[in-house]
Amino acid sequence: MRSLQREPALLLALLAVTALVLTFIVYPQLQVVLTPGPGGYVQFLQEGTWLTPLRNSIQLTLLSTTTAVLLGFVYAYAMVYSNMRWKPFFRLIGILPLLSPPFVVAAAYTLLFGARGVISYGVFGQSPNIYGLNGVWGVQTIAFFPFAYQLIADALSRSDPRMEQAARNLGAGSWRVFLTVTLPLSRPGLGAAILTTAIYILEDFGNPQLIGGVFYVLPTQAYSLISSFGEYTSAAAVSTILLLLALALYLAKVRLDGGRSFVTISGRASSMPRPPVSAAVSRACFAACLALAGVILLVYGSLVVSAFTLRFPNNLQVTTEHFQYVLTGTNGDALRNTLVFSGVAAAFSAVFALFAGWLVQRGQWPGRRALDLLLILPAAIPGIFFGLGYLVAFNQRWLDFVDRGWLIIIAFVFWNIPVGYQAAVAGLRQIDRSIDEAATSLGASSLRGFRDVVLPMLGGSLRVGFVTTFVRAVTTLSLVIFLFTPPTTVATIRIYQLVGDLNWGAATAYTVADIGLAIIALLIFATLARGRISLGAARA
């Protein structure tokens, strides 16, 4: 990238990105952070009710991140390196846990594995108490491994097979190659995966709320203060503590990364095949993925069964009444809103994240560290506060002419930037600068170099950004709870109402319709983008 003075277009682009980040991330969040005021903070800190949730949050984040990243790594390794069968199936399964509207999926775990669970009690005659640290740890591991998996798979697939072949030719065994070549080369992806997964786990509210029992964490504390007691001020103080924790995680990651280079030669996976892994490893990979897929399918399968039966799990008479209810009145509008808002937001978010990632990773200008942090920060903001910030900041008379749907779309774009952005930065760190410099030496502007050289090589990162933004937008409740209006109601709001109304059948039918349509939309997207961007984790 040439200097900013010599390329005014680049300077403008940088200013535009900075302005957008300030307007749509910093400004709304400041509204929340400043709400309690100095007195409010002092009083809240003295009350001390945050101490236990803070300790619990840290403990849970450490535990769940460790297991989720391990699982994500195994899954990614299996998908990229092994010769196991059924990869397209596992690719889809790897996205399913991201499609978890809060309340519904977590509740499905209790129905299956709880004290009177269909599996735990019905099959094994056990009444385990799943509420508490262990239960929420297990559920979070499955719910969040896809973030780690997507980011790691993207990094692994970009590492150059020639390096591994070379190591093998020099006599290293496959285990040694893995430890000394594969693992170090995937460090940018691994670092990004750990950071992103940890921040999302820190911010997770749905699972601790329903499975955590009296193991209170900061997001459940903040949410309860608002929803059950209308105490917005104290809740905003909790949100600020979460932001500080995320900041600490970010600094830890920066230290871990150091300034090392992870460049593989070309940046684009070469046509050379990866060295074969032994049949035993492939079989082990297959078994591990199958076991995980079994649990995931059980949970989502129970939602489908519930949607088609009268009163799951007590009355299993088949019915379509729940789906008839879902498709009546304005319920269909909410489904359409969800798909439109999420699709538009995912496209914007993926492209913006990639472009911002390129500016930050390749740029040599002051303040890029700050921008880097700001682009990761939204992951640490519980959706309910991201939405609240938007409401306070943008619910202004002079903005009344703008359709409220745009507010939801913009909130989706910026709240979901971190994954796509992390994927882009990790990807760029594996691509030698000389590649884009070659373009600029040949006379292209930096922006043109981005479009024609960098963009095509980062298809995987673009896909990660698109897919995660889309599925998170489809399934978020907390972000939209303060932003929706009657004409811009989305599916998760309807599901929330149905759960509150004890209409479990209709709630699951709505969830199945929501998830089903999201998967169909992703498949259509994958077909349209075939050859350029592939769905699920990187091609093996």
Binding site: A107, L111, G213, F229, Y232, R397, P486, V499, G500
Partner: protein, 343 residues
């Protein structure tokens, strides 16, 4: 025509239109559309608002969120540019702070004369229109096998070792219902917090788990996860209607209750429409319909309760001090946490 003239014509037209609109607003007959933030149940909203539109001709845009605290927060956050005309449903605890912050429009509805003073705010910032009573849900088959079919007549009955690990309580930190349960115990012991905490500690030994949401606890009991749980009577009755043999409701002695309120949001763009809604919701017609749809009680004497539903006259109530319960919430919650050893 020059653009300048064009703009002038436009401004004149706009002025005339505004004048006509103002006249229309001043007329006694409510018209147009109102935006209602509703904390009522999904099944209640649609039919209740349709009946209102039919009775008055005022259209409704409903924004439903089952958690009243979410709506209270939303109204607070929107104070610079209010989007709601009416806030309906949810205990008066959620309306009262909005009134104190000056975010509600006081209105003494002529129909509020039928509402007892204990159910409304004196200056008309909010008016109560329904009541909910805290009761007890039991799973019929588990009650029979585990407890010989004996329902708790008093809250103290729940300390019987026979109930050990067979109770679920809505979480007092996460849910309003769970906190009201503790507050009820404190008022039951004449505000002797030591006795109340002693009770909560003994009860803790019998509790299998604390539920994340009050309605979720009803589902858990329905599924037989535990034998019984304290919860809202109206929600228990609604669940019971789906399968009457499965669960049952009873109301132990000395229980607590809530007053569901309606209020007008300050800055409403359709004051006559909003007032028409408050007037209507206080009628016998609306009271009857709400009882039918939600199994809640009405503040009106001439509205008969839902079949099988307890009424405030029949049950024994504690002297529930809402203001005290609100002011002491954080302290009581902390006290409870340290008492039962949840750190």
């Amino acid at each position: 025509m020059t653009p300048e003239l064009d703009r002038r014509t436009f401004l004149k037209l706009a002025g005339v239109t505004a004048f006509i609109a103002a006249c229309g607003g001043a007329a006694t007959k409510a018209t147009g559309r109102i935006s209602i933030y509703s904390a009522l149940n999904e099944s209640t909203n649609n039919q209740l608002f349709a009946a209102f539109t039919k009775a008055t001709g005022v259209e409704v845009s409903a924004l439903p969120l089952a958690a009243a605290g979410d709506l209270q927060t939303k109204i607070t956050a929107e104070k610079n540019n209010p989007q709601a005309d009416i806030f309906v449903g949810g205990s008066s605890e959620f309306h009262d702070p909005l009134g104190k912050q000056g975010l509600l429009e006081a209105y003494q509805s002529p129909n509020a004369k039928d509402v007892g003073a204990q159910f409304k705010e004196a200056s008309g910032l909010w008016t109560g229109w329904y009541t909910g009573i805290f009761g007890f849900i039991s799973n019929t088959s588990r009650l029979k096998t585990d407890l010989g079919g004996k329902k708790p007549a008093t809250w103290d009955d729940l300390l019987d070792p026979a109930w050990s690990k067979k109770l679920i309580l809505p979480d007092p930190i996460k849910t309003g219902g769970g906190y009201i349960f503790i507050a009820t115990q404190i008022f039951r012991f004449n505000r002797d917090e030591t006795k109340a905490m002693d009770y909560m500690k003994k009860l803790h030994a019998n509790i299998l788990s604390y539920g994340a949401t009050s309605p979720g606890v009803i589902t858990s009991i329905s599924n037989g996860e535990a034998a019984g749980a304290p919860n809202w009577s109206h929600d228990i009755l609604t669940e019971k209607a789906k399968d009457p043999s499965k669960i049952d409701l009873n109301v132990p002695k000395d229980t607590g209750f809530e007053v569901g309120a309606v209020s007008i949001v300050k800055g409403t763009k359709n004051l006559p429409g909003a007032q028409a809604f408050v007037d209507w919701v206080l009628t016998k017609e609306a009271g009857d319909l709400n009882v039918k749809l939600s199994n809640r009680g009405s503040v009106r004497k001439d509205v008969s309760p839902a079949p099988g539903s307890p009424t405030l006259d029949q049950v024994s109530l504690v002297n529930y001090d809402r203001q005290w319960a609100t002011d002491n919430k954080t302290r009581i919650q902390k006290l409870w946490q340290s008492t039962v050893g949840i750190q």
